[in-house]
């Protein structure tokens, strides 16, 4: 009974060691005309994502008769087995709303996301809600090799909202994007 318990414990320890990236004991060489030793090597790479290639958006002197649209390509990298990720956007308005402000005046904008680059439309994002099921084609954390970009971020201001804005006034805000591995 005790022997069986020890055996189970040993097997459990070995399994834990291997999972932790450690391994079985190194072997030492003996004295001779040649000598051979070996070591086991273990490493664990955790799930990681990275977003990069973001640029500021500016709608300067935009004609309020036509919708404002800015689409930019960026790099999202994920190292999971599926290269999957999700993205959550938050604005700088009240309750993290997607709004720009000029003093007390605010104007809403919309945010869309596409899981490939070169897109001018995508899936609409809701502030604070993750858009899941996305996949990255990036092979490098900053897309310095492989695809130069892997996703599209689209920011829009609709014509009614543009027409509600006061002329010659700067409206500013910040959009924050949080990506997580899947």
């Amino acid at each position: 009974m005790i022997g069986a318990w020890i055996l189970r414990l040993s097997a459990a320890c070995v399994a834990a060691m291997l999972a932790d990236g450690a391994a079985l004991a190194a072997t030492q060489g003996s004295l001779g005309s040649s000598s051979t030793g070996s070591i086991a090597i273990g490493a664990s790479v955790p799930n990681r994502v990275q977003i990069s290639g973001l640029t500021d958006v500016s709608f300067a002197n935009h004609d309020p008769a036509t919708p404002a649209l800015d689409a930019q390509d960026l790099c999202v990298w994920s190292n999971t087995a599926t290269r999957g990720y999700n993205v959550t956007a938050t604005g700088s308005g009240s309750g993290n709303a997607f709004t720009l402000a000029s003093g007390a005046q605010t104007v809403p904008y919309s945010v869309e996301w596409a899981g490939s680059s070169g897109q001018s439309s995508g899936t609409g994002l809701t502030s604070g809600s993750a858009l899941t099921g996305l996949t990255s084609s990036a092979t490098n954390a900053t897309c310095s090799t492989g695809p130069g970009s892997t996703a599209s971020l689209i920011v829009k201001i609709a014509t009614p909202d543009l027409q509600s804005m006061q002329a010659a006034t700067n409206y500013t805000g910040t959009l924050t994007l949080l990506v997580a591995p899947e």
Binding site: G21, G32, S35, G37, A43, V45, P46, T80
Partner: protein
């Protein structure tokens, strides 16, 4: 009546012949034979230089938090050579194809770099390539397991480069590195 001991007779006959042959070897011939044996033994002594590698430890990088930075693990070990110059060469091979220095996690692969220094407590050294001997190394060890004299005489350095780490799929990677040393 007892049976004759034919075996005893045969044994006596063989013993007699061997004694006769021993007696037939002149002293000079025996000395010449001894000299010949010595001359054959001399090269064997030269070829009997010995080496030993000990104090090797497994390497566990653990969970690598920052994939944008090289991960380095170095260890001091004992390399002993009893050749006239205390020289040796070292050859490393991994468990990747053709002895490549690669860790694996299922189908995933994580390459690593191996460096060697012929002095202890080093964090960098000369890069090793799979199955290619690094020659011209000299050991300071005075005892085969470094039990006295220097406690260690060489350094083994393993490096996971940031480029390899950021290109690897998440998971637990394992592999084995084998080191073969020979005297010089």
């Amino acid at each position: 009546m007892a049976a004759p001991d034919y075996c005893a007779a045969a044994r006596a006959s063989r013993t007699g012949r061997r004694s006769a042959r021993r007696r037939a070897w002149p002293a000079g011939l025996v000395a010449a034979a001894a000299l010949a044996l010595l001359s054959v033994a001399a090269p064997a002594a030269a070829a009997s230089n010995k080496v030993r590698i000990t104090q090797l430890s497994d390497v566990a990088f653990g969970t690598i938090a920052n994939l944008g930075q090289d991960a380095v693990q170095s260890q001091s070990l004992c390399l002993y050579s009893d050749s006239a110059t205390n020289g040796y060469h070292v050859t490393a091979s991994g468990t990747g194809p053709g002895g490549a220095f690669e860790l694996s996690s299922g189908a995933g692969v994580l390459a690593y770099e191996v460096q060697w220094s012929s002095s202890a407590a080093q964090s960098s050294g000369v890069q090793l390539w799979p199955n290619v001997p690094l020659s011209g190394q000299v050991s300071a060890a005075t005892q085969q397991t470094c039990n006295n004299g220097p406690a260690s005489s060489a350094s083994l350095i393993l490096i996971l480069r940031a480029a390899a780490l950021s290109g690897a799929t998440a998971g637990s990677y394992n592999g084995t590195l084998t080191l073969l040393v020979g005297p010089e």
